[in-house]
């Protein structure tokens, strides 16, 4: 929904089903089951700061609005707590839709209003990919550095270091190759679209 000088309402004839079918195929989520009751949004712990509430996210999929789905705030504020799925009378897995759209947003380099959240997301994932689990020190240092705030929480970090909360080595799991294989598998599966 880009700002345009000549105003035109959304033209339903131009909506294709491609996003809906894509989501159905790749996430096994059928948005046509949605009854638009809003139970997902009412119980969403972050709903009050979402620009598009979970119900509206489902509606955006129906309207095939890829652009909004990839650039909206909610994409990076969602905690994936699964409360919406758990409560949905139609069992619609909204976090799965968001996971899928996050992947797409990262790969297509879509603009985001929350670059730091996205950075953190990418660092956590790459840390898991590298070590088999999250290395807090690794993520914290890289995050602070890339976010341009290298001394943020430095004192807290020192205290944690002295208490032995950070480990410099031996942090990864034994079967890292297995984890990496999982990553490759999931990426390939999602690239099919």
């Amino acid at each position: 929904m880009d700002a345009d000088t000549t105003y035109r309402p959304l033209f339903l004839n131009h909506i294709d089903d491609s996003l809906r079918t894509e989501i159905k195929r790749n996430c096994s989520v059928d948005v046509e089951l949605c009854m638009e009751c809003g139970k997902c949004s009412g119980g969403c712990p972050n709903g009050h700061v979402f620009d598009y509430t979970p119900r509206k996210i489902v509606q955006l999929v129906k309207l095939g609005d890829r652009q909004t789905l990839m650039t909206m705030d909610a994409l990076w504020i969602c905690l994936s707590c699964q409360a919406c799925v758990d409560r949905c009378p139609s069992g619609i897995d909204i976090p799965a839709i968001l996971d899928y759209m996050r992947e797409k947003a990262c790969r297509t380099g879509a603009k985001t209003s929350r670059p730091l959240v996205r950075l953190f997301h990418e660092l956590v994932l790459s840390s898991i990919r590298g070590h088999g689990r999250v290395s807090e020190l690794d993520v914290a240092l890289k995050y602070n550095w890339k976010a341009g705030q290298p001394f943020k929480d430095a004192r807290l970090g020192m205290r944690m270091l002295f208490k032995g909360k950070f480990r410099f080595y031996g942090n990864g799991v034994k079967q890292r190759a297995e984890v990496r294989r999982l990553f490759e598998k999931s990426v390939i599966a999602k690239d099919v679209s």
């Binding site: 959304l10 033209f11 004839n13």
Partner: protein, 342 residues
Amino acid sequence: MTKAGKTALIIGGGVAGMEAALRIGQAGFDCVLAEKEEVLGGTVLQLSSSFPRWENPLELVEERISQLKLCGRIKIMTATSAIESRVSKHGYSVTLQSRNGETTNLDIDAVVLATGFGMMDVSVYGEYGYGIYPEVVNSLEFEARIKAWSAGLGKVPEGVAFFKCVGSRDRSKGYPYCSKICCMYTAKQAGLVKDMFPYTKVYVFYMDYRAAGKCYEEFVREVIEKKHVTYVRGRPAKILPEGGKLLVRAEDTLIGIPIEVSVDIVVLASAAVPRRETGPLAEMFGAKADKYGFLERQRFSLAKASDRVFFAGGCGFPLETLAAQQEGASAAAEVIELFAHE
């Protein structure tokens, strides 16, 4: 078992009236079934399918007509209207008039009004242009289109839009009540269009869909999920003719943005209203009507409007075929009870 001397007059040969006549006749009383049109069946004759089972409603009409003829106690008078009635010793003395002017006088002991419902004239909504644009039709007129399509006639539409609540739930130009049946028959019609033309885009504009009945919710969900009819939440604001098509303007109230859609046909689910004939008939027999003109039942009664006057079907309130049958049977039960105790 014969019960001499008791006759019931049923006015209206639709589903409710036929059911009432059949039950009273089968109980051993005489019946006169007066129908204004040339054939029995009423509104159902115009329908091409039914909810929630996609059955052909004509089969029901045919079966009932053959049962009525078999019964032997029912006199069917088509193309006949009741024009006058006087209170007599045991009930009413009614004058019936056929279309070619012949009159018949009849002494009856009870009357069942089953005059059905009609469709509101929705040309009052200038924004929709009903009566101006030939491709804006009401739901009953659309049933004829469906019949033509299934006979292989008519052009295949690229897009069809259904508007619900046209006149219903409208306190300014229409009626404040919900017409009750539009949600279901609109889903049925939208599903039929998709069955015939899978590549036609079908939109249903709704405020909410009211599917209260056995298998009704499942029926609507089937139309949305299996037949892929697009339900758009919002009441359309305007129809504009554009490039030989009809451009519909509305708001998608689920997301909160104005939308447009271009279609070939717009179907207006007009409010169901009492028929013009119901008022004078009610007056003739001393039956009470509500402020809209639908007949009112007496307290704790299923079908009684006043002494020896009963009613069934759409003249009380719009209803679906099965409910009309049930009301016909209810009215018959009250008539039979009355006759049996005299």
